[in-house]
């Protein structure tokens, strides 16, 4: 039965096009992962692809809908609950209105970029450092401490907003980016993730070799462990970036409207121009676009990351 012993290479975008051209029942056994569920791991029929195409449409349509309305005008929107599938020509004009509105659009963009970049770099660095220690170094209390890290993942920290806000006020950080960057510099998820990865990906021999060569502990980390951690670190960086870019609750409380991130700005846009959906949804589309574009290029890694880590966060 296990005749399709092809190692798990995955289909690329070229294959994606091929599916669209509906040339389904061609060569048998391609990039199959040795699936042997039904007879000879045969190709599923048209029903499967119909379902997948429908799911795809549900996935993509809301964003496209946002673009359609964002390229329209409020009169047309009010008259047509179901927008035409072809966009109108007002998108850039609407974006222009978003930029010149009083939601501090450019500030929000800059804040989101800065916060997401710093947070993801810091999470990757500190998590790799801790993951390296937990997986490869011997020290007293290692086991219990790691259990503690994992346990903290289940703590609903969102519920500590009140004291966190009091703390930030005392520090004078409310309304400033520090308030949203500092709490996210290292996460339990990141530490656990890197520990898991380095456990299997980094051979002890490499570290020992570096140590014998006279490397200090930190040099051994930097020159041996960090490069070895790169694949998992990239994924962790992606997840953290997305998490920071899409976060709303805490930035909304800690920053307020004077110094917003993009999600906070979107909420402001909705609150202040609530009759003008072409304006609001043009803003939403623009705010979502960077990650969607990034997803086209890095989506493959993200998929792999979700499937390997299987941790929501």
């Amino acid at each position: 039965m296990s005749s399709t012993q092809f190692a798990g290479g995955v289909a690329g975008p070229g294959a994606a096009k091929a599916v669209k051209r509906r040339e389904e029942r061609a060569a048998k056994g391609g990039w199959g992962r040795g699936r042997t569920k039904s007879a000879a791991g045969s190709r599923p029929g048209w029903l499967t692809y119909t379902i997948l195409a429908l799911v795809m449409m549900v996935s993509a349509y809301p964003l496209y809908y946002s673009f359609l309305l964002g390229s329209s005008d409020s009169v047309t929107i009010a008259q047509n609950p179901i927008p035409s599938l072809i966009p109108d020509g007002n998108f850039l004009e609407n974006v222009q209105r978003v930029v010149s509105s009083d939601i501090k659009f450019w500030k929000a963009v800059a804040n989101s970029v800065i916060a997401a970049t710093i947070t993801s770099l810091a999470v990757v660095f500190f998590s790799t450092l801790a993951g390296y220690a937990f997986s490869k170094l011997r020290f007293r209390g290692r086991g219990p401490l790691l259990v503690f890290v994992v346990a903290t993942m289940a703590v609903p920290t969102q519920l500590s907003v009140v004291p966190l806000f009091i703390l930030m006020s005392k520090l004078g950080w409310t309304g400033r980016l520090e308030a949203i960057i500092i709490p996210g510099l290292v996460t339990a998820f990141g530490v656990f993730w890197m520990t898991q990865y380095l456990e299997s990906a980094l051979p002890y021999e490499l570290i020992e070799a570096a140590r014998v060569d006279g490397c200090s502990m930190i040099r051994a980390f930097w020159h041996v462990a960090f490069p070895a951690a790169r694949p998992a670190a990239t994924m962790l960086g992606l997840f953290t970036f997305i998490g920071s870019w899409t976060a709303f609750f805490w930035p909304f409380i800690a920053l307020g409207s004077s110094n917003p991130t993009l999600p906070v700005a979107i909420q402001l846009l909705q609150a202040s121009y609530f009759k003008d959906y072409s304006l609001i949804l043009a803003g939403v589309t623009v705010a979502a676009l960077p990650l969607v574009v990034a997803f086209i290029f890095a989506g493959r890694q993200l998929v792999a990351g979700v499937m390997q880590g299987a941790v929501k966060g």
């Binding site: 500190f126 011997r138 890290v149 703590v155 907003v161 709303f248 909705q270 997803f295």
Partner: protein, 331 residues
Amino acid sequence: MPTPTTAPANGNSWRQKLSRLDVLISPYLYISPFFILFAVLGLFPLIYTFWVSMHEWNLIGGQGDFIGFDNYTHVLKQEFFWRGMRNTFSIFLLSSVTQTLAALALAAVLNQNIRAKTFWRMGVLLPFVIAPVAVGVIFSKMFADQSGLINGVLGWFGVDPVAWHAGVLQSHVAIATMVNFRWTGYVTLIFLAAMQAIPSELYEAALLDGANRMRQFRSITIPMLRPTIIFVVITATIGGLQIFDEPRVFDQSGLGGSDRQWMTVTMYIYEVGWGAQKSFGRAAAVSWLLFLIIIAVGVLNFLITQRISSGDADKTPEEPANSTMAKEPVA
């Protein structure tokens, strides 16, 4: 490879001591950022929440008198608190149940020998990169009571317009849809990964016994997925009961509707703390109540999920699949 070898051959004791110290201290140094940050910005706030909840404490005035559990008794008497509880649980149940079932089905579809695997997997994951607030704003327009897309499409089939915002259950369905839009694909990939780890021998044996696809799914796939399902349900509980973003932007005022029909507990925390009352003491009390409830529900979920699938799971993993097929598993 960097090799700063400076001939420590003569047993330079100072260097050796330093090196031993390096080995001893470094691990703790490397893990310290997490523990420091968690202590200051995770654990301390959690405990401090309790302290604040025992006081009269306002956004403007700061700390006031110690009043024991008065904030708790006050909050527990508020109608809006209980309405928030009702809404939160209703939205949570609507979203988590449909999401888990849909993800299981979709993962089974993706777990076939399909072409262009990565393309379809990316397709289901796409909504995950869109911010909940953006999803909320887009869907609040799609679910508009008047001139909304959903009601427009329903009109094609002769269905009367649904009061997605005005209705209680209707608004919960709309918000649960937003949550599911963003998370179903993610959960699907988690299930898919778990499905691919199931040894194919189990299916082969089942096939020999003449089990059809449905039967294989029910008697092999689901029991083998038990730990994953438990994990997904627990994380969905922790996240779902704190839901804020989507309902906050379901309309422009963000209070949860004219009758608070979709106001969640976290929205209530915000309203009590930063809205009209500006009472941190009461907001902290609500936070602690929600915290306890999340823990309770998490444990409950764990017990339920374990029981539901344990009937099958006890048999399948160790024994060869053909003997499993002979018995009638508890559905």
